[in-house]
Amino acid sequence: MQMRGKVAKKFGDDINTDYIIPAFLLQESWDKQFFADHAFEGYDPSFGPACRANKESIVVGANNFGCGSSREQAVYAIKYNNVVAVVAQSFPDIFFRNCLNNALLPIQVSDTSKIAVGDELVVDLDSKTLRDRTTGVDYPIVATDAAIELMERGGFLGFVRERLRQKLKAEPMKASS
């Protein structure tokens, strides 16, 4: 599977999910687009317009992108601004899993310092390569096979539904202990 996009925003280390979407908004809507409209509102208000300027945008971070709170709304805030992938040097687990569950590709490479805003990137999951078409540099993607599979599947939902189907079949009575 391949995904293409243009780097719309670049950040440094330790971007936390409070910066991506502030807490006071979390309970105010159950609509994912609402969070995209407020993405990085207090931290970098140009985020939304910059990402929406492209049909497919990519956001680049450095170390520990998406740290802090477990709020999945941070993923909605990024994704629903036309963002297909976040490229960073590392991701904490909760954010990483939230990305996988929402088909926002969390792409880990060892060094993002030479990737610039405006660069055209190609994520190639089959060859586990991130290609910067603007600079011509290829970066190996650091990911387990299981993570690649989940990225290709677009999350766990199909699998969980199947799992639930099997469980309901196996248990004639509802589980209660």
């Binding site: 309970q27 809507s29 159950w30 207090g42 709020r71 687990d93 939230n98 766990f156 309901l168």
Partner: protein, 442 residues
């Protein structure tokens, strides 16, 4: 063959087979699952949307995997601060009633406090909740961590976590006696300073050593709570007699008693287990510590800081249990909060609140000029009860001082211990708690 870490033992027990760090588990059964009112409502709505047809197809009523293993705890902005929040709580309580899930009331307490105080989470269990500070339960010797909304809805349906990699462990060996005026909070802020915000990424922070052994349970909860600020997968402390005594008390609150089964769940790391890394910490060198804006890892000894403070917040899932309120009350007794500063006290649970009332602590706080609120997350969530204006400076006993966390992105948040918070409230600037502690007391 080397021994196993407590984390590996807990996963092995859950899987019924040996699991080691790095193993990929396709479906990990979870023992306990809890939700707050921030993520509960969308998780319930998604659960209904994504799985209703599967239940219909099987000719079964929509039923969560096991209601007795689930709890709902509205705590972040309660008593409700907006119509939408109230709608969310209503949605949760209707669902809870329909499904037979325990629904706590607004003001019963902060989810991570209730979960341990009410013996909802027990040592050796795997517990997950829709909040990153679920790692607090690691103090019980449980494997506990935060999840997002989608994993929450999946767990409601099947009780399983998918594609779980058994994490490696960083062992923190802590030795040395605390200096006067130094507490678990100072230690963990110091550790965050050593490790940085991403320093424990993907790994479990396991705390061992004589300093941890001699720490009360409140201190252990604090240390585990803040470990997510170095991006640890979670934190854990091997259960011991103190843990056992705490759990006994918690069980008694629910008219339950310790059983062989519960005791049998308690696991401890083997001395020859594989640790990805070992870090030695000398607690005797730690001073009263403050984390400066805007990172929990920006830790400095209090001797280097004396910034003026507009608001002091004594509360949150990090530091608002009995021991925390006790030390703050010792310092505030017979003293007044600075006229320049607001002190906000929010006990971690209804039980802690009532205990503080019965033991005269609330009166000490009130006499000093504090605002006391019923139990909830308070201003740490930045939505109600003490929102900071641009330029405001707040010293908080909570766990995050990110820019904008408690209101304006142009405000400044400092983190410290309850003792440091009390001293700061008196002086109206960041202050060393040692000068206010009664002689001979810590």
């Amino acid at each position: 063959m080397p021994g196993a870490t407590i984390t590996e033992k807990i996963v092995s027990r859950a899987m019924g087979r040996k699991a080691k760090a790095g193993d990929l588990i396709e479906a990990l059964p979870v023992d306990k699952l809890y939700f707050n009112e921030v993520i509960g409502p969308p998780a319930i709505l998604n659960f209904e949307k994504d799985f209703e047809d599967v239940y219909t197809e099987s000719g079964k009523k929509m039923q969560v995997f096991n209601p007795s293993r689930i709890a709902f705890m509205p705590d972040h902005t309660v008593p409700s601060c907006s119509i939408k929040v109230s709608q969310g709580i209503r949605l949760m309580s209707d669902f809870a009633k329909d499904q037979g899930i325990a629904m706590y009331k607004e003001g019963d307490g902060i989810e991570h406090t209730i979960a341990s105080e009410e013996a909802f989470v027990l040592p050796g269990e795997i517990a997950v909740a829709t909040d990153s500070h679920t790692c607090t339960q690691g103090a019980l010797g449980a494997l506990a961590f935060g999840i997002g909304t989608t994993e929450g809805e999946n767990l409601l349906a099947t009780g399983e976590l998918y594609s779980f990699t058994v994490p490696e462990t960083i062992r923190f060996k802590v030795s040395g006696k605390f200096q006067r005026g130094v507490y678990a909070k100072d230690l963990v802020l110091h550790v965050l300073g050593m490790m940085g915000e991403g320093g424990a990424s993907k790994r479990v922070a396991e705390y061992t050593g004589p300093t941890i052994d001699s720490l009360d349970m409140e201190g252990r909860f604090t240390i585990c709570n803040l470990s997510v600020e170095m991006s640890a997968r979670t934190a854990i402390i091997n259960p011991d007699d103190r843990t056992l005594a705490y759990v006994n008390e918690a069980l008694a609150r629910r008219q339950m008693t310790m059983t062989d089964e519960i005791r049998g769940m308690m696991a401890r790391s083997d001395p020859d287990a594989n640790f990805a890394k070992s870090v030695e910490v000398d607690a005797s060198t730690v001073e009263p510590t403050v984390s400066l804006p805007h990172s929990p890892a920006n830790a400095k000894p209090v001797s280097q800081v004396s910034d003026p403070i507009d608001m002091v917040f004594l509360g949150s899932c990090a530091n608002a249990r009995e021991a925390d309120l006790t030390v703050a009350a010792k310092i505030l007794k017979g003293r007044k909060v600075s006229p320049k500063t607001n002190l906000l006290v929010i006990p971690a649970s209804r039980r802690v609140y009532n205990w503080a009332m019965d033991n005269g602590l609330l009166k000490i706080f009130a006499d000093a000029g504090a605002n006391i609120e019923s139990s909830n997350c308070g201003p740490c969530f930045g939505k109600h009860m003490g929102i900071l204006a641009p330029g405001d400076r707040c010293l908080s006993t909570s766990n995050r001082n990110y820019k904008g966390r408690m209101g304006s992105p142009e405000a400044f948040i400092y983190l410290g211990s309850p003792a440091l918070a009390a001293a700061t409230a008196i002086e109206g600037r960041i202050a060393d708690p040692r000068k206010y502690l009664p002689a001979g007391e810590n």
